[in-house]
Symmetry: C2
Subunit: 184 residues, 2 copies
DNA sequence: GATTGTGTAAAGTGATCGTTTTACATTGGT
DNA sequence: ACCAATGTAAAACGATCACTTTACACAATC
């Protein structure tokens, strides 16, 4: 059981790196098995199929991501994103990328994407409350656009896009506070 | 020559639709030839390879996109984007998607992506000038993040993300105007 | 100490990949 | 009338695809 967890963790780590770097469709099963150091028989025993492997990878990535952005303020949220990119590199949202690469036609992948994005929306909504003092879905949506924009623009423009997003989010929050000064 | 242009146009149209809908790697050459109604020999005579086809598709798409966003104000720019999405659907930036799907390893595709993104940056920079009265790279970068965010968030949240982006861009431009009131 | 579970290595499944080739029909210009 | 260009249909190319199967090794459990 412990060895089984080891194997699964090794597989998911290797698969996440390969899918992220080379794309889902372009990564063959032989590359995955040899990178994880396991046989193809074992891989299929554990995750059933290539789609199943991707779904497991996305679930693990989502868990890791949630831990990373468990912070108290909007600015800390964007700072956490910036740290993630600096440490792991930024190649765009793996959920969206895989969802689109498969034409949205793979249910397990579409659902993993939906869950992840719903969590992001809820997280930002709560951060807005702690910033503004009340729910403000309009502001939350604006910040969601900035979040998504930073994730993707960072891939080709780098750190400048992180600074831009943080400046913009500060301006938007200030404007919202001035508009509706419930707290302070 | 006229028939040759017809064939090429038909090929690029069909290929763009298939690549956009199903992804670059997942779309096979037989699907492309039968959708365009041409033989594989003709396809290879015209574009040389699958990568060459994608590069040609991206170049045509870039031309079409530039015509669409040839507008006079930042708000008109986002309005043009919204119209594009309403008419053609939004499945994320085809340049970024294809670039990442190929791991950034196909030079012709990487260059098409770079050219397109450089144009976007320059276009937004000029729109900021006409809005603010002078160059403001910081504001332009913030708007670029909003643009990229709208493109990708629209794929899973729809029109709400277009409204959010337009609200946010208005707030950012107003704040910049208040900060640096060169022209009125 | 036989059984059950879980692993490996490696060959084999048929299908599909991108690309080339062969053979032939149609066309427009000199 | 002929030649060169440009198209089609279809077979063939070897490679690779996701996935399964066969045969075997080493554990721990009852």
């Amino acid at each position: 059981m412990q060895a089984s967890n080891d194997i699964r963790a090794r597989l998911l780590d290797a698969a996440e790196a390969l899918f992220d770097r080379h794309g889902f469709t372009a990564t063959g099963m032989d590359r995955l098995t040899s990178a994880a150091g396991i046989s193809s028989r074992t891989l299929y025993k554990h995750v059933g199929s290539k789609n199943g492997l991707m779904a497991a990878v996305l679930q693990a990535r989502d868990r890791r991501f949630r831990r990373r952005v468990d912070v108290a303020s909007v600015d800390a949220f964007f700072a956490a994103l910036e740290t993630w990119f600096a440490e792991e590199g930024a190649r765009g949202c793996l959920f969206l990328r895989t969802w689109r690469e498969t034409g949205g036609d793979v249910p397990e992948i579409a659902e993993a994407m939906s869950r992840h994005k719903a969590f992001m929306q809820e997280t930002i909504g709560e951060l807005v409350v702690s910033e503004i003092g009340s729910r403000d879905e309009a502001l939350a949506d604006e910040i969601l656009v900035l979040f998504e924009g930073m994730v993707h623009a960072y891939t080709y423009r780098g750190e400048a896009m992180a600074s831009a997003a943080r400046r913009a989010v500060h301006t938007l929050v200030s404007a919202a506070r001035a508009r509706e000064p419930k707290t302070e």
